[in-house]
Amino acid sequence: MLLTNEDILRIARLARLRVTETEAAQTGEQLNGIFKLIEQMQAVDTNGVAPMAHAQEVYQRLREDAVTEPNRREAFQAIAPQTEAGLYLVPKVIE
């Protein structure tokens, strides 16, 4: 498998990363090297092996439906790029 420039630009779009055509060519070369390493996985027959998502067999704990966090809006918004009247500001999405 070899990733083309179009593949890189498509993945970058999915990942919300701006990549220029020149960067895509460079990145493609490196990613193809990494995928060559990854392809070693395909040599092993894993039929019947259950995927392992996690190191421990743990299940989501349930907790009481109670408020546990205090309101710290000011502290959190103090580090935001842009806020106004307690709201986070972003470019207009809906006209």
Binding site: E39, M41, V58, I79
Partner: protein
Amino acid sequence: MIHASLKQLSALLAEQKTSSVELCTEYLDRIAALNPTLNAFITVDRDRTLAEAKIADARRGQGEAGALLGVPIAHKDIFCTEGWLTTCGSKMLANFVSPYDAHVISQFKAAGMPSLGKTNMDEFAMGSSNETSYFGPVKNPWDLKAVPGGSSGGAAACVAARLAPAATGTDTGGSIRQPAALCGITGLKPTYGVCSRYGMIAFASSLDQAGPMAGSAEDCALLLNVMAGFDSRDSTSLQRDKEDYARDLDKPLQGLKLGLPKEFFGAGMAPDVAQAVEAAIAEYRKLGAETVEVSLPNMNLSVPVYYVLAPAEASSNLSRFDGVRYGHRAADYGDLTDMYERSRAEGFGAEVKRRILIGTYVLSHGYYDAYYIQAQRLRRLIAQDFIEAFKQCDVILGPTAPTTAFDLGAKNADPVQMYLSDIYTIAVNLAGLPGMSLPCGFGADGRPIGLQLIGNYFAEARMLNVAHQYQLATDWHSRTPEGL
């Protein structure tokens, strides 16, 4: 005092032969003198450290007598620390002052350990040389031309140069053990789930685990006693009884079965590393241990499996950095998508971008089964290999890294070569087992060599016992770099 162990520092404090303020001042002065050369710290804040030290002294004055009360520690810049800059080695978070403490940090605060500052690291813990840090590479105190390893490179370098008596690290694929080996210190990655991940900036959540880095196994045991514990805010934190990780340190090693995986001792390990590891095995035999050959047949697949799973999890975790609520936002942008794309392109470095792209690809439609699910199936085979091996032995032993520290810049051009420096450590994270690295000699180039111990699930105390007995019989761990 800079060569004293944590236990000795604790005794000096208890006997009022020193104070936390005095201790912290001594370390802060060393940091001021040596950090411009080593670049081990990203943030140092003298006033904050001394304020924390005063509180510790006051607590001692009121009769409190915690084991590490007043002993300072440095924290990897991946841990959120309230009021301190928390950058994770990235431009993305270069202006992020955390509004809260990670669970591990609050544990150390409760124990009364003042923070000496935030240590340098590979960006978002992605790297094995500390060269991906936005804040510049860390230098290895043993040889300023060499890398300190990564990603906890600043932590390892600051302990090796005695800029701090102890440090926190995190280990996703070897990020505590590999830099500990390359800098000649002792570092431990606990069983997955022993330390809470709350407030530890996430890289690959099913692999990330915090652990201690210090001058000896005994010091690591004392630190793990503080760090470990259940925390409801981490859904994978394990509910277990509190244990004393130092309880077995003094047990003799008579009858210990050390497993030597044949896959660890094949081609790939440098001759000087092999020689030092063989000498350590001989030392263990003298201490009464038996050795048995074991096999981890799927170990060669751990690097490819890791480079599917870790980027997949990273691409999801790092999607939160969008320039909206905190972190870097581009100065110029058009619509919302453009704002995301430019902020992320400017905020992340090259290695982080590569991994986000790999992760996005392997999770995308049409590739998910071939890569992500296949990697998860192989992960189980790798974990089962360890379960089989532990039927024949108590602790597994091998090298931590295939070579001593490489030169700065030597592996920058080829990501795959860099990835292979974690060949002996990654499988341990995939299985979720505890592992540690301790110094066992020096290479032909005079740079330190690390010995890796791998324990069964929750066998940290046994592993620390095995490491401590070796450190009673040898003095590799007490060597320090000349000229610092």
